[in-house]
Amino acid sequence: MGIKPMNMDKHLDVINACRYCFMCRHLAPLALVTGKETDTPRGRALIADQIRMNKENLKNQDYVQALYQADLSGACRTHCVSSYDEVGLVLELRKDIVDAGVQPQPVKDFAQQFINPSFTITGEGDVLYFNHPCIKVHAPEMKTAFDKLAPKHKTIEGNDCGTALQILGYQKQADEAAEKFVKAVKESGCKTLVVPQPAAFHFIKSKNLLPDVKVLNTAEFLLTLDIPKKSGTLWPIDSDFLKNYQKNNAPRKLLEKLGYKLKEFGITHEESYTCGEGSMTMVFLYPENVAKLVERVREFAERYEAGTLVVASPYTKLALRTYAPELDVISVEEAAAR
């Protein structure tokens, strides 16, 4: 297939470790609602192993679909005593799939909207707020709340900064998008960038795209402000990208600083209740899976009588609002602006 060496080769240690290991299956969110082996790290590592042994298997659409359905919560990596990076393996495999041109058609179609982006900057201030399309289109109330708390800032918007493309396996296009984003941020003159979309925050931080700019997630930024105290109880649903990818606990710190009483949602802090946030695209590409993930959250909310759920991710807010509109869900920004 003319794809040597393969991107997945960087993670052969993960294949060897995960292909016969079951020790994190209890934290595989999608597998918990579908029951499918392919929705576990072991199941995907077995597929990767099949591809390792025979590159022709990369064309197998059953395997390709399984790799694109992955929730990528990162809970497995966080749980593993050796931190094997199964998420990294899947992301590299997706690059191989795209390189081979065998990605599913819906993925191809979906990716188009993020290729060759342009960005505009408006407003005045020293702080630049990234109005990511997931917020602008699906959760504008998060920006409204932010505007209320920090009215003086510039806004950058227009598209994603390469995150979705990277997650879908479009490495070259992701790099190009990131380059344009970086150029626009630099032109803004701001030395502080607030990234309210955790996936994009992780993308920018992990790639160190802006070494001369202070990159903060919303909670980190709001921790620097003097916000009036609140009262009440909230049930936080942690972001996969902040908790499992960045080991960043700022949303909970902020909520506690504000005076909220936090109650643990679900049955364990280890599990992901983001409804596929790690995949960034599941709610658009595999909505039937998101509906199942949301149902589990709804069940836990009911069983343990959870009140207001507070999320750090616009993705999770969108998923919950779409499939469980009866749940009371607010963002960290909204909790702060109350």
Partner: protein, 480 residues
């Protein structure tokens, strides 16, 4: 029965299954078949690793209720196709492998906690629930199942019931067969039956004990009620070093026969102490490492601990203290994660068995000699990890660093070692297995172990499963 995918019969069966559970919950794609064709048994692992073709199911079906299970089994009986229950798929004996194709009945959607009874101290749950989830949910109510197997994260309640599983605190809290109080079972012909509501009675033979350990050959356990316990006020551990395994065994037996009621005793032989205790726990000693623990009210725990320490001091060469015991508890699962767990290209097998105190040491040595006779370069290590009033379990392992590359040769060697070792255990007072089950791996020895009594088991199987659809070829029962 491997069906032709292009046949109309295949489509007919698929339609019938889909009508029962819905479109989303019948799979026949290559990815899902792959995942259900390998469990934690070394043979399919090496088969896959060496690029050999694996046998998978024709369909993977995910029922949500006992009623759906019943209907699936009725379809299977109509078309006479095999059904292999699959929980977490983490069994080491090949018990969940669909070796004749047919239906892999994946139970993981039956994963709800149905009731926690704080008065009787029991929990009722569907059996597809992963043990760690069950424990977490019970914890939320202020209790514990006290079932802490190494596979807690990956195996289902039904999986433990199927092969009589156990956990690290079994010495006090028992194996799964001691924990279960009643069960709902779907029989091979589709009847949904319940065992008696309590586990102790004089109301005839105990059906619950018949289905416990039946490894999916007699039906599908869909619901179970099990004991729960208060979270103990205190839990303490202590470790000692013995110059040799024999002295450690004597000390462990004395703790048990003194009826001190420890929650755990674990004794590692000298080779495993040198290899794994050093690597995983960082305790670098020459000798046999023994750890024990107690739980309950603190003043009771302190007295029990003191008495156990006194026994060990009489035989041990070093008191390693509470810290060296606690570190074992804190890292008790770490042994089973990569890279600490053995993995390919190594060949390895856990030769677990159980015998009374009079015979357990002889079993250990007999298995050692059998392994070495078959393959002198094989390493043999072991620990004694589940203790009873009358004896203990031996968790022996053989490890071959470089087994033959040819998969047929590798599997032949593997089978030879297993056969010799387990037969040596049986000849010296042991049994086929203590808590991993029989599965595909050891079925051939069931007839020898049970003698004429095996005919009784076969008769039960034939009566309950006239078409032999349930997990054929496992537990020593006939293949398909």
């Amino acid at each position: 029965m491997l069906l032709n995918r292009k046949s109309y019969l295949y489509q007919m069966i698929k339609s019938e299954l889909t009508w029962i559970v819905g479109d989303d919950y019948v799979q026949s794609d290559d990815a899902e078949k792959l995942g259900h064709s390998i469990d934690y048994y070394w043979v399919p692992e090496v088969w896959h690793d060496r690029g050999q073709k694996l046998t998978g199911p024709d369909f993977i079906v995910h029922p949500k209720t006992a009623e759906e299970v019943s209907k699936i089994l009725q379809v299977a009986n109509t078309h006479k196709i095999p059904v292999t229950p699959w929980g977490g798929g983490a069994g080491s004996q090949g018990g969940a492998l669909p070796i004749y194709g047919g239906i892999a009945l994946d139970t993981k959607r039956m994963n709800k906690v149905l009731n926690i009874d704080p008065i009787s101290m029991t929990v009722t749950a569907e059996t597809g629930i992963i043990a760690q989830h069950l424990e977490w949910e019970v914890n939320k109510a202020g209790f514990s199942t006290m079932h802490f197997p190494a596979s807690i994260a990956c195996s289902t309640l039904g999986g433990f019931i199927a092969h009589r599983g156990t956990g690290v605190l079994s010495t006090k809290y028992g194996k799964i067969e001691d924990m279960i109080t009643s069960m709902e079972v779907v029989t091979p012909t589709g009847d949904i039956i319940n065992t008696l509501p309590v586990p102790r009675h004089a109301s005839g033979p105990d059906l619950a004990q018949l289905f416990l350990g039946s490894e999916g050959t007699l039906g599908v356990v869909t619901k179970a009620t099990m004991k729960i316990h208060p979270i103990p006020e205190s839990r303490k551990f202590h470790a000692f070093l013995f110059s040799n395994m024999h002295d450690g065994l004597e000390a462990g037996a004395k703790i048990m026969t003194s009826r001190l009621n420890p929650s755990v005793i674990r004794l590692y032989d000298n080779p495993e102490t040198a290899k794994l205790i050093k690597r995983v726990l960082g305790i670098d000693r020459v000798g046999s490492y023994l750890v024990f623990g107690f739980d309950g009210p603190e003043e009771v725990v302190d007295i029990q601990l003191e008495k156990a320490c006194k026994i060990c001091s009489e035989h041990g060469i070093e008191d390693l203290g509470t810290e060296s015991g606690q570190v074992w508890w804190d890292n008790r699962y770490k042994f089973y994660y990569p890279p600490y767990m053995f993995q390919l290209p190594q060949a390895f097998g856990t030769l677990d068995t159980v015998a009374d105190f009079s015979h357990i040491e002889a079993v250990y040595h007999a298995m050692h000699d059998a392994v070495k006779e078959q393959y002198p370069k094989a390493a043999y290590i072991g620990h004694f990890s589940h203790w009873y009033d009358w004896g203990c379990m031996l968790y022996a392992r053989f490890i071959i660093e470089q087994p033959p590359q040819d998969p047929e040769e590798a599997v032949a060697l593997y089978n030879r070692i297993w056969d010799a070792a387990i037969r040596a255990a049986i000849a010296n007072g042991g049994v086929i297995n203590e808590h991993h089950g029989v599965g595909l791996k050891l079925g051939r020895m069931m007839r020898d172990l049970h003698g004429p009594a095996f005919k009784v088991l076969e008769g039960i199987k034939k009566t309950l499963d006239p078409n032999n659809i349930m997990n054929p070829g496992k537990l020593g029962f006939s293949g398909y």
